[in-house]
């Protein structure tokens, strides 16, 4: 597949897909709750509004506070161009460990900005986020490593080269997709790990870290979060695609769009029906993701 075409497709999708996905989640949640809900492009209007608003920065904040949204968006753009989250080959060659560590770098910048303003909510959010990322990052990297072990390479282009080759590979992809989905929901602070629409600061995990951002910073941060959501759901969809026989590029792209919409629907259903777990019980749920990922790694390592 031509690199330029891939770059064009990815560029267009990076601009439009994240906010559309967030809009789709909101719309589906509203329909499930019996309301009409905001239109699909409401997130675009929200970001535009935020861009016109003035900024308020805390007096205690240092330059790392203003640097964090910049680092976030640039790292996440690199990740989005590197991972095959659209079902077709990514324009830049991606690597599993680069993917994992770039995501951790983005989280590092966010946590530092949270601690920077000296607010205790930021500190609580940052400490809880690091505690959760102990599990969710491990699960994510281990789950993708299972596929890497199966295809004997850590480069994304080799790992996701084609569809399933055997029943065993399909089963492995299923296990990996489960682990990856749970780890992604924890990483994105979605239900049942955290309620993204809560206004109670003491229960926030991700929102507490971006509490101090306003105006343009907040616009960048919200877009970065939406981009992270779409990339993580996209990579889960790509793993699910591994269970199907090899298809042509256009069909894979369309199937990925359908799976992204399904993912949004699942998130909407989870946020409407599930209740946020108590903080003490979160590691219990996440450890399922970690064990599933470790078992997948083990099976891949043993069976080759």
């Amino acid at each position: 597949m031509n690199s330029l075409i891939s770059l064009a497709v990815y560029a267009v999708n990076i601009v439009f897909a994240p906010l559309l996905l967030i809009g789709a989640i909101r719309k589906m949640k509203a329909i499930l709750q019996g309301r009409q809900g905001p239109p699909l492009w409401q997130s675009f209007l929200d970001i535009t509004k935020l861009l016109h608003k003035g900024e308020t920065v805390s007096a205690t904040a240092y330059w790392s506070f203003n640097a964090a949204p910049v680092i976030n968006i640039s790292v996440l753009t690199a990740v989005a161009l590197m991972t095959p989250w659209l079902g077709i080959r990514s324009p830049i060659a991606g690597d599993l460990f680069l993917f994992g560590y770039l995501l951790v770098l983005a989280k590092f910048a966010t946590s530092l900005s949270a601690l920077d303003s000296g607010s205790s909510f930021g500190a609580i959010g940052a400490s809880r986020e690091t505690a959760i990322s102990l599990f969710s990052e491990t699960a994510m990297i281990a789950a993708l490593a299972a596929i890497a072990l199966h295809s004997h390479s850590s480069s994304f282009s080799v790992m996701f080269a084609s569809g399933h080759r055997s029943l065993y590979a399909a089963a492995l992809s299923g296990l990996v997709a489960t682990a990856l989905w749970m780890a992604s929901m924890a990483d994105l602070s979605r239900m049942p790990f955290d309620d993204p629409t809560t206004h109670l600061e003491l229960t926030m995990i991700h929102e507490a870290q971006v509490l101090e951002n306003s105006g343009r910073n907040l616009a960048i941060v919200e877009f970065a979060t939406a981009l992270r959501t779409v990339v993580l759901i996209g990579i889960t969809a790509r793993v699910i695609l591994l269970m199907l026989p090899p298809l042509s590029h256009i069909v894979q792209y369309l199937v990925t769009i359908v799976l992204l919409a399904l993912g949004a629907a699942t998130i909407a259903v989870c946020e409407t029906t599930l209740v946020r777990l108590r903080w003490r019980r979160l590691p219990n749920l996440l450890s399922f993701a970690v064990s599933a990922a470790m078992v997948a790694c083990l099976v891949a390592a043993l069976r080759g």
Binding site: S74, T77, A78, V104, L115, W279
Partner: protein
């Protein structure tokens, strides 16, 4: 298994550094001495910056370093280690993207801020009053979620006492105390440091200026080297 350990190590390292940088540099000063602290001379800063750039450079240019080393080592030993087969990550394009986007966004933000500067105000405190030094994050408070998960290892104990007429809802006095053991520091590092200290004291007494002791040390070292050299032959 090794890969999950690798991922876990990466995450733990990141958490450790977030905590260290966070409590050292960020938020409000946590003590009077910290409030009066000021930046050191530029020489000290420059040396640290050079070292950290070297670290980052070594990490990013690892494949080339390995090739250089294998070339050097290959000259001295007949069968050099096969280091040239080390993985090379596709860092170039990723870093390029990161830098380009970061530069673009920073430039745009600086431009916007020149028209519409950010207003400086207090940190959001949810109405609880000034966010002073006592409510800043400390190292143990940052690590508390993880410590409680592994509570058995650390002898984590939490006492909570509420006193007052209607103590559940409107307590007069609240006592919430967390005690944590530090097993590694107290039981492993502590004794090791003490033993090392005693050893160095003994050696220091030996080196107190007596020429005979110096000569004796030199003789013993030479004898040992001869013996070891003889065995190695």
């Amino acid at each position: 298994m090794a890969i999950s350990c690798l991922a876990l190590i990466g995450t733990l390292v990141t958490s450790c550094f977030i905590r260290t940088i966070g409590i050292a540099f960020q938020g409000r000063p946590r003590s009077a001495a910290a409030e009066k602290a000021h930046e050191v001379a530029s020489g000290m800063r420059a040396s640290q910056i050079i070292l950290s750039c070297a670290c980052v450079g070594l990490g990013l240019c690892a494949p080339w370093m390995l090739r250089l080393e294998s070339f050097v080592i290959g000259q001295h030993f007949a069968s050099g280690p096969p280091l040239s087969s080390a993985w090379t990550l596709p860092l170039g394009s990723a870093i390029f993207t990161v830098l380009v986007v970061a530069a673009a966004v920073t430039g745009w933000l600086i431009n916007e801020r020149s028209f519409d500067p950010a207003r400086v105000y207090i940190t959001w405190d949810c109405g609880f009053g000034d966010v002073g030094p006592r409510v800043q994050a400390t190292s143990i408070s940052f690590a508390q979620p993880v410590v409680r998960m592994f509570g058995t290892l650390f002898n984590y104990a939490h006492t909570l006492r509420l006193e007052g007429l209607d103590s559940r809802l409107f307590p007069d006095e609240v006592l919430s105390e967390t005690t944590v053991d530090h097993p590694l520091e107290h039981h492993v590092y502590g004794p090791a440091v003490k033993w090392f200290d005693q050893l160095s004291h003994t050696i220091m007494e030996m080196q107190q200026g007596s020429i005979h002791i110096y000569l004796l040390t030199m003789l013993v070292t030479l004898a040992l080297l001869l013996v070891i050299g003889g065995y190695l032959q």
